[in-house]
């Protein structure tokens, strides 16, 4: 029995009186691309941050490859936050250098190939990049680590359809098959083709986890239509 890459058991998280996650349990198998789908404020980012070890859960347990999330799991997890970690004085070259110095598993050669694929130049100033180009850079940095679990928080949020397509291309092209990807988004239609499974999260609770092809077969519907149904107000 192979350990789940990521496992949540009864995880809850409250910020003062506000409950962000309530008794969340799920598991992610190796080699899968999973969509974490929910509307704004549903708890996606909180879940990601707990998995990345950036914030503690209030209750329950989260583990990566059987090890409780913490210092020990950080080397196995690469997190792409919804706000960039790069500084405005940096050039693309500096951002790559920053990641290389910070993460021993950073694959500089892969980063170069990805930059090339993304049409990013090492001499570009990070602060002068458009939103779409910045997303491409962040994705390059996150995927160039040799991690077991990649957490991508809203990688296609707020970018135009062309940049979106490029980012999806890059994900399919550059992810390694023995690792898993958890991608949060509320833009379901554009991205549902690259998912193996989807997890729907609403008001801090997991309401559905299913393989997308099974979902289409069973309901005769796209993930997007299911999403609209589940999240209809």
């Amino acid at each position: 029995m192979v350990d789940k890459i990521l496992k949540f058991e009864g995880v809850s998280k409250s910020y003062r009186s506000k409950t962000a996650l309530n008794n969340v349990s799920f598991g992610i198998e190796p080699g899968k691309i999973i969509g974490l789908l929910g509307t704004n404020g549903s708890g996606k980012s909180t879940l990601m941050k707990i998995a990345a070890g950036l914030i503690p859960a209030s209750a329950g347990s989260a583990s990566v490859l059987g090890v409780p999330v913490g210092l020990a799991t950080k080397s196995a997890v690469s997190f792409m936050p919804d706000r960039p970690l790069t500084e405005s004085w940096m050039k693309v070259r500096d951002a790559v250098g920053f990641y290389r110095d910070f993460y021993p598993d950073f694959d500089e050669e892969k980063a170069r190939r990805m930059l090339d694929f993304m049409n990013l130049k090492e001499s570009d100033r990070v602060s002068s990049l458009s939103k779409g180009m910045n997303e491409r850079l962040q994705l390059t940095l996150a995927l160039s680590r040799q991690a077991k679990l990649y957490l991508l928080d809203e990688p296609i949020g707020g970018v135009d359809p062309v940049a979106r397509a490029k980012i999806l291309d890059a994900i399919v092209e550059f992810y390694s098959e023995d690792s898993s990807l958890l991608i949060s988004t509320h833009l379901v239609r554009d991205i549902e083709r690259i998912f193996d499974e989807v997890i729907f999260i609403r008001d801090g609770e997991v309401v559905l986890q299913e393989e997308v092809e099974d979902l289409r077969l069973k309901h005769g519907k796209s993930v997007d239509d299911m999403f609209k149904e589940v999240f209809a107000e």
């Binding site: 691309i33 291309d169 549902e192 083709r193 690259i194 998912f195 193996d196 092809e213 289409r216 239509d225």
Partner: protein
């Protein structure tokens, strides 16, 4: 290769149909090498596991075969290709006949209409 997917149907079934169509129409020939999982996934911008599943199903149906260490190939059995063709024709016919019956045509009517349509097509 470009393909428009219908997200309401399983993607692997759509790719299976697409590949079968390519074979039947002769765009892919018996014994041709097929793209790798990775290549096809990148080209279609879909999940590699979905492509993997497509190939597994096509293999199970005998449409493609894996040669150890060499990759995947379109079956070299012409009879298999013929039977795919028949199967696809069967699907088309079934849909047509169902549609005509829904419109209220009897079996004789349908046969007559088809005969006439085929003849007028030939005269053109």
């Amino acid at each position: 290769m470009t393909m428009e997917f219908d997200n309401n149907l399983p993607i692997y079934i759509q790719i299976m149909d697409y590949i079968k169509r390519e074979i039947v129409t002769g765009k892919m020939k018996a014994g041709d090498k097929i793209l790798s999982v990775r290549e096809l996934a990148a080209e279609l911008q879909i999940n590699p596991n979905t492509v993997q599943r497509t190939f597994q199903e096509l293999e199970r149906e005998g449409v493609v075969e894996t040669r150890r260490g060499l990759g995947r190939y379109v079956t070299s059995e012409e009879s298999k290709i013929m039977s795919i063709k028949k199967e696809m024709a069967g699907d088309l016919l079934e849909r047509f006949i169902n549609g005509m019956q829904e419109l209220g045509f009897s079996s004789q009517d349908i046969t007559a209409i088809v005969t006439e349509a085929v003849q007028s097509e030939e005269r053109r």
